[in-house]
């Protein structure tokens, strides 16, 4: 039995795959003060649903995968550990110097970001390693001892060490850990070379700082959670979702807390992988429209597109992560007539509190959700399964005051304008996400999820000229479902920094063999047996004149001439050309070691009759630039083969899909809706 539990801002979602392969879902309200309570509550609900007690349920669990935003929230809310930083003498300010960059060029009146480690707790010690890895100045142990004593006196919770060229020669960084351990003190320690074994002191420093900042809080939470589950009978290790779409066991996840920071969208992308496989789709672009934003992920050849760094909350996280392209459009996006007199939607969001005007939680500004409610696209009575009745009059008043009156249009036209502009925002965001990868959106199938995604899917598909949209029925628990497609994954890398052709097959084979051995040992600690391990090798390569490398996937062939060719191919697919004859440089050798976990397959439904009559729930007046009457269907009652013709609304407790006139939606073999956009 496999269980995936995703703790979101509002709900804790649970997906259970039983021994027969059937899927079961439930959700419980999240409990932000102690998220583990929400997890246990969801498990209890599931036990009730299955007619057994919690202990019996947990005893049958063979794989338990947990996704948490604890680490992300600590970073974004800036309530992490008090940090102490030790650097090479002369370099304590690198985090504040930010490589001389700032994100916005025009808005000069903003405060500089507060460094994540206070300057008085950034200490320098005498030591120096050169660019070739030689020790220029040995580590001054007395200074080190004094620094540790100072941190201890200041009661820091995390110690970060970043010495120059530590990726080439880590012994000074390691000596700091040894000294801390000898002192008998047990803070959370992050060494820059362990976070990232690669050139680039700012990336290593920032990543190690984030790790130590969120690590203690994540560790405490995960241990607490495991204690709760263990006390109720779970007998297997709990795995934690990582930003790569892989998982790690609790202790490893806490040590590498940075991997959980950007893990939020990974579950959704992994469920994209699941559907792509089940439906035989190679290239899929997923978009997840939630309350505040839309996350776009690309799946190419069945695997999510990754990136090697993420900039988040004024910091750099240089760890591999599924690439997420955020768009500032969500249900809570505020619609305004801006200072130039033109309508704009997002990126500002009313969030969950005060939220859209129709939530009746104090929000008065018009939002996308208010617009969709005014248009009749969202039902005021079935939103969140009817748990949150929506105030249509409040929504109308907000749209009227903020949009209709200033623009001199009817409330309905104002709401429709907000809806269409949001569709346009999602459309162009998806287009840019594909263009950025050297791809054409028309070569992808679209997958829409998240509560607000389905209302815009038809419009987005038509504008992008993408013929098909997949809208899964379990849209609201998709992230948790995606967890069940994950493997245990350890990523390791080693810096090389040499021209490709200056290496040899033997040398590279040795490096990869060592990395692989190291990765297998790490996996063994998680209890994975050897024949379920597989390995992916890659390199980060660049031209000599470039600052950053690109990933180059490798197979077993490690002959430099062939690697050079593969680099050229990878470069060409991104940039449409390559520099033939110009030598490529290997920045780092990378390996991902996967330990296979039992997987689910999406259950295939029986084919039935095409008439959707059993799911029909009546008719409703909606407004889509003109008043029209739409058929209403209940998503959960639609079965494989049923066809719905627009104008129609397909509703469930967690999502709503608009099928426009001329478009058709069909239920496919795995119970998702396949929307085919017609001409408008």
């Amino acid at each position: 039995m496999l269980i995936g539990v995703d703790v979101g801002g509002t709900f804790t979602d649970l997906v259970l795959a039983d021994a027969g392969g059937a899927l079961h879902f439930t959700k419980a309200p999240s409990t932000p003060d102690d998220p583990s309570r929400g997890v246990v509550n969801a498990l209890e609900l599931m036990a009730v649903q299955r007619g057994e007690d919690l202990q019996t349920l947990l005893r049958q669990v063979s794989v338990f995968i947990h996704g948490t935003t604890v680490a992300t929230n600590i970073l974004v809310q800036r309530n992490g550990a008090r940090l102490g930083l030790i650097t090479t003498r002369g370099f304590r300010d690198l985090i504040e110097l930010r490589e001389g960059s700032r994100p916005n060029r025009y808005t000069l009146r903003t405060p500089a970001p507060e460094a994540i480690v206070a300057r008085p707790l950034r200490l320098e010690v005498t030591e120096r390693v050169g660019a070739n890895g030689s020790v220029i100045t040995p580590l001054d142990e007395a200074e080190l001892a004094a620094a540790i004593a100072q941190f201890r006196a200041a009661d820091v919770g995390g110690v970060v060490v970043c010495f120059l060229h530590a990726h080439k020669r880590p012994e000074h960084e390691l000596a700091v850990r040894t000294a801390i351990e000898r002192s008998g003190w047990r803070p959370f320690v992050s060494l820059s070379h362990e976070m990232l074994s690669r050139e680039g002191e700012y990336d290593r420093l920032s990543t190690a700082l984030v790790n130590a900042y969120v690590g203690p809080g994540l560790q405490a939470y995960l241990r607490h959670l495991f204690g709760q589950l263990n006390a109720r009978g779970i007998q297997v290790p709990v795995f934690v979702m990582q930003s790569t779409g892989g998982v790690l066991p609790i202790e490893a996840a806490a040590r590498r807390a940075v991997g959980a920071v950007t893990s939020g969208p990974a579950g959704g992308a992994m469920s994209g992988v699941l559907f792509a496989k089940a439906l035989g789709i190679a290239n899929l672009v997923t978009y997840d429209t939630g309350g505040t934003s839309t996350d776009v992920c690309l799946i190419q050849d069945g695997a999510p597109v990754e990136k090697s760094r993420t900039d988040l909350a004024d910091l750099r996280i240089a760890a591999p992560a599924i690439e997420v392209n955020p768009i500032g459009i969500g249900g809570g996006s505020v619609a305004v007539v801006d200072s130039s007199g033109i309508l704009a939607v997002g990126p500002r969001s009313a969030g969950a509190v005060p939220g859209p005007a129709c939530f009746q939680k104090g929000g008065t500004q018009a939002t996308l959700t208010d617009a969709n409610l005014v248009l009749g696209l969202i039902s005021p009575t079935t939103f969140l399964g009817g748990r949150m009745p929506l105030d249509v009059n409040g929504a109308r008043a907000a749209i009227e005051n903020d949009i209709a009156i200033p623009l001199g249009m009817s409330i309905e036209d104002a709401a429709w304008s907000v809806h269409v502009l949001a569709t346009s925002g999602i459309t162009e965001g998806i287009r840019l996400a594909t263009v950025r990868r050297g791809q054409d959106p028309r070569d992808f199938v679209l997958m829409s999820f998240g509560g607000a995604g389905g209302l815009h899917a038809n419009g987005v598909a038509r504008e992008l000229q993408i013929p098909k949209v997949v809208i899964p029925r379990m849209a609201s628990v998709l992230s948790a479902l995606g967890f069940l497609a994950a493997d245990i994954r350890q990523d390791l890398q080693r810096t090389l920094d040499r021209p490709i052709l200056a290496t040899s097959h033997a040398e590279l084979a040795t490096i990869f063999a060592e990395l692989e051995a190291e990765g297998r040992i790490l996996l063994k600690e998680t209890g994975v047996v050897a024949d379920h391990i597989h390995v992916q090798r890659s390199m980060e390569c660049r031209y000599a004149r470039q600052n950053h490398g690109i990933p180059v996937p490798l197979g077993d062939n490690l002959y430099p001439v062939d690697i050079e060719r593969r680099f050229t191919e990878a470069y060409r697919s991104l940039y449409q050309h390559a520099h033939e004859g110009e030598p490529g440089i290997i920045d780092a050798c990378r390996i991902s070691v996967f330990g296979a976990l039992p997987k689910i397959d999406l259950p295939v439904q029986e084919n039935g009759q095409p008439d959707p009559e059993p799911a029909f729930r009546g008719r409703r007046d909606i407004y889509i630039g003109r008043p029209i009457e739409a058929d209403i269907y209940w998503f959960d009652d639609l079965r494989r083969g049923m066809r719905v013709s627009g104008p129609a609304i397909i509703e469930s407790a967690s999502t709503t899909v608009l099928v426009e006139p001329g478009s058709i939606a069909m239920m496919d073999r795995v119970g998702s809706l396949l929307l085919v956009a017609g001409e408008s």
Binding site: Y106, L108, A131, G341, L421, R431, Q546
Partner: protein, 564 residues
Amino acid sequence: MKLSTGQKASALTLAVVRHKLKAVTEEMVETMTHTCFSPILNQNQDFSAVVLDANFLTVSQAERVPIHMGAMPLAVRMMAEAFAADLHEGDVLMANDPYWGGSHLPDVTLAMPFFADGQVHLWVALRAHQGDIGGMSAGGYSAAASEIWQEGLRIPPLKLVAEGRLREDILRLVAENSRKPGDLRGDLMAQLAAVRIGICRLHHLFVRYGSAEIGGCVNGILDGGEAVTRRMLAECCDGTHEGLSYMEFSGAPNGLLPIPVTVEIKDGHAIVDLTQCPDQVKAFINSPQANTRAAVMVAFLYFSGDEDGLNDGSARAIELRTRSGSLLDPVSPAPVGACTSSTACAVIEAVLQALEGADPSRAIGGFARRFRFALAGKDRAGTPFIWHYFFNKGGTGGNRGHDGWPNIGGLHNPGGTPSPSIERTENSYPLLVEEYALEADTGGVGCWRGGLGGKLVLRYQGDAPAILNAAGEGVSVRPFGTQDGAAGPGHDYYLADEVGSRKIGIHDSGVAVMPGARIICISAGGGGYGDPSQRDRASLERDIAYGYVSLQAARLSYAMEVKM
């Protein structure tokens, strides 16, 4: 070439079309990023894209470099006028000549008209900073140039593509005038791909909405931009406001060239008068009119801080006056290489100072200017190297409510290109970085203090002497203070070896750097805003605890009673 005017677009179409036009420019920039050839260009993104209306007003832009934006309308206008009677669908025009609407020679602009029903309705253009366009020194910044011809290849408006057919002969001519012909050819082809994508997207928009509706939207967008600027100007005090900044120039009597400006604001309209600036000089700091215009527009944008009106509608509310033959509106053959950085900064500063008089609450203290140097020599293996990266950019100015930022640098592109890593520097060059840190007491004193300058110590480790060539500004002209705040200190660079230490001047060239010598750079801190005695005590105490302000300075400059 007039757009059908008069029609007012619906509010919905206006909002969607504005968004789509923005997406068109973003897609052009992404296309450029993913097809441009020189590896530096695709990682630094030194290019910008615009959609212009038939009157050459920027309707939409994707800016990676602020100083590109305001300069493109004039460039495209002059390109179009050069082919007024001979412009056809499928033509792509190219130019870089400062005396044909360009800025400096490395910035090459490609522009393509969008035709519908046999008429030009819109233009798309993309400007990119090319790595090498010929001239007396590689990379284009020739401090020694006294005439434009020494700065590289001049490209007056020409057709790179005529009715869809690429002029291979032209491409060859331009490429062969570069030290990196392959890169230049590749980057021009990437620019071409980008403008073609732009035209293709415009085509979809016109098919969907029709030319009348799009015309109404374009007018609506420009009207909106104009309204933003007029409202901002209406909030300012009417009257004539003066600003004065300086450029450091050894040819001037006291080493300083004044840049005086008056901004006359009346009824939501501004007249910017730069006619009193000095005559053009035989040095590369002259700024062609298009670049001067861009700098003025950037200053107004900084001042307003409102990006909603980021288009040329705002230009309708701002009239610019320059004097032909002057530093800021030179005539050929004045060289112009440093106009997009050094001169642009001085113009932006002068305009900001003048605007400060119009609305003191929006005042911003001065920024560190750009002062960099190149080091050339041979590494230990005997391979020649040129190191010319820019670390330690200096602080930005304080403003009401905020201290300045450290390490951001010049107003022409604040916080633009990130510095490469120290490890890469040491790995690739015979240099050891001994220190890179914030420098105490460098932030201009004020109620809101300037951002701190930094300290960079480079030790040269080659076997034979290397040669240092400096270029830049901001040593004797300090980042100005505002509203009773104090100026930040200027840059202070010096060279220290066994013989002793000597200052590095902004125009020093051919300075021998001995093996083992140290180059020490203390960068300028930003100017302060407001009376320092009004600085919040908690902030000051934190400044002291963090070592941003020394105890001594706290007593002297902030009148703090410090308990020891």
